[in-house]
Symmetry: C2
Subunit: 187 residues, 2 copies
């Protein structure tokens, strides 16, 4: 469901091809809902079948012919209806935490290594997000006080991403300390 509406949401901003949508996913909704080309193309076909988007085939010189998708009024209505529906609480799925759950079965040194890898991954994400935030702020589009209408969703989502990654790294630091004690105790 979410992919469908992530696409409709992006098409509401501007008509574009599947290829362009894939690129837009990175740097926007993609932080919270990734998708591969195959999935996007398949979804676009379904959306077209259901008349939520329309297509225009545009031949190009020097490049392959592309299909530009646009939101139809039915698509806009569907998007609005979905946005205004309370979200059913969805299960959290964090593979790494499933591993953490069995950490007592591991050699503490190796567990520590895995945990540090995880921390690095999230440190990098945090860095990326804060960089994007800085650029947005410098461009004057957003700030804590005033945010351009069109940027609001992007900004709110970005701040959530930053908060999430920051908290994640903080937990990692604490967990690393917990495991270090165990390494000492076992040596």
């Amino acid at each position: 469901m979410a992919l469908k509406f992530a696409i409709l949401g992006l098409l509401a901003e501007s008509s574009q091809t599947g290829y362009e949508l894939k690129a837009r996913f990175g740097g926007s909704v993609g932080y919270f809902w990734e998708a591969r080309f195959q999935q996007i193309y398949a979804e676009l076909q379904r959306l077209q079948r259901d008349r939520l988007v329309s297509v225009e085939t545009v031949p190009q010189r020097g490049k392959p012919t592309k299909k530009v998708y646009s939101l139809t009024s039915a698509g806009e209505a569907a998007l609005h209806a979905w946005l205004d529906t309370p979200s059913a609480s969805q299960p959290t799925r964090e593979e790494f935490l499933v591993k953490v759950f069995s950490v007592a079965r591991m050699d503490p040194r190796r567990a520590l290594a895995r945990l540090k890898e995880y921390r690095e991954e999230h440190r990098r994400r945090l860095e990326t997000y804060t960089l994007i935030e800085r650029r947005l702020e410098e461009s004057g589009a957003v700030s804590d006080d005033t945010t351009q209408d069109a940027m609001l969703g992007r900004y709110l989502a970005l701040r959530r991403g930053i908060g999430y990654e920051r908290e994640c790294v903080r937990w990692c630091n604490w967990a690393v300390a917990q495991l270090r004690r165990r390494v000492k105790a076992s040596s």
Copy 2:
């Protein structure tokens, strides 16, 4: 993949039936990987086929016959191998944040209502988790300083859950303030 090893991890603690596993999922790994009965039963059949678990059929009086599953040595080896494999970074999937991304398309008042529902959901979860933590601490099994070996994974995961929900609620509060300004501006 994760479900498979979540089950193996629980069976490593003690042999049990699919029905019991489902119950154990709540209050433990279930915070980070939920599963329905159907999925657990199906997975157990696959694990049995692959000799990672063994089964004993136990007739009961007063209750239906049950199948008690145990980890085999092959199952233990598979669990350890998985635990010690670096986790590939997995995509985040948060449906609500996909909605947030399109918030500029909504009436601010309605957006505020949806956001508050989301906040309530996470407030409740936070409350549940902190209650569980308090009970664990009172039982003497865990603390910031010393944690029983068998409890370590449970405790680390729980603290992650608490951190996540707390940060989520904090973001909601900030986002509510942002939207409130928009409601005022539009009235």
